[in-house]
Amino acid sequence: MEALISFFSHYMLYILMGVTILTAVGVVYSKNAVHSVVALLLTMILVAGIYLMLDAEFIAVVQLLVYAGGIIVLFVFMLLLVALHKDEALRLFNTYTMISLGLIAFLVIVLAVVFFGTPFGPVPETVTHIVKGGSTEAVAGALYSTYILPFEIASVLLLVVMVGAIVLTKERVKL
């Protein structure tokens, strides 16, 4: 029992990462766009799990709220609104598929070698700054003191986006 638990606590992150890669592949390679969205939803939930394992519970919850609760709903709405069945007969991939796949595999391998060669140092067992009082409080404190200016700019960005999205999709009113 104890062994099992320690096994899980150690390898949970690996399991999450593995499943995440599977679902991410599902996003790209599904023939049906709705399947892609479902895979994306699962990916986002799993990534939230990864955040949780990395002691960032606030980010995990925000990930669920923003991605699962907001962004993917937008995607699903969009899918239901646009007539995708017309495009289903089209080819999924084109001639550049193999070339791009090769390039990306090469890139991943090169960067992985670089990462393994870089001395990042040992992993700290406990993190004091983040976990003290929960990451929620810590992040909030940082957001409202050190990073207050970017925070305000972000809110302006969201406002601009809101207006922009409405302008883009609004029907032209003839004056």
């Binding site: 104890e2 519970e57 699962a68 699903v76 709405f77």
Partner: protein, 337 residues
Amino acid sequence: MDFTMINIVIPTVKILIVFTVVLLSVLVMTYAERKVIAFMQVRLGPMRVGPWGLLQPIADALKLFSKEDIIPTMADKWVYYLAPTLAIVPALLTFLVVPFGDQTTFFGLLKHPTSMAISDLNIGLLYILAISSVGIYGILLGGWSSNSKYPLLGALRSAAQIVSYEVPLTLAIIGPILMANTLSMKGIVEAQSKGMWFVIPQFFAFLIYTACAVAETNRAPYDLPEAEQELVAGFHTEYSGMKFAFFYLAEYANMIVVSAIATVVFLGGWLPVPGLAFLHIPAIIWFALKMGFFLFIFLWLRATYPRYRYDQLMAIGWKFFIPVALINIFVTALLVL
């Protein structure tokens, strides 16, 4: 992390207890709904199975579990299977942080009292909001994958409804959060033990919360997604057997969750009614009573009101509830400062 037996066994036992209780209360809830509404409508309700029809929910459950599972020919099978799961899992997961009482020793079995919530997350409320926002995919995908027009219309309606009512719902509970100065469910109840229940200073927030909670769980008078008279049964028109039972279970579990949140945030959780503390009623009974009261409101509304129309529903959500909730937050923030 300390992975000793005690840290594993107690949460497991708690999870088992909570899930059993939740599933049982869903059964009780279906029975209560039929009986309460029947009495409001001058009829008897179920009377055949068992004394006063008490075994009716069990008969229903057996019927649903043994029914034939029909999949429409053109349905998208994977998504069709996934949708009920996506509906019920978040509904049950939200019970993780609900504190049903202060502390318990399981009738003296444990040396140190343990919390009556499965887990005392310090971001409990945020967690519930995050998890429950996943629940709408069950409805949306279930409606889409049935490949039928009524479910699709129902799914679009309910998705739009849930997305728009989640905003005022969240805004409504921000007032109490500001007053309690914590996101932990336990902390909010403890904050109310010092002063009055938040239902008094946050009365408008409570009203908005009640209305939005009813809309969020797709219950009358906001039950457009499953408006029987218009869309037959909405998103689960094509579902049958076990999968339908999952949707059904999810709906009632969601009702219980929003009642639990209302109890914790506005009605003082497990605290006794002021002035009645001398009765020595266990905390969990108080909690159940308050939750029962809130659930009763659901049934009461259903027996009383006609149904809104889709556009009217959206209009009051965006044009009335959100502004009022924002004003409430503003005033609360000023007072707290």
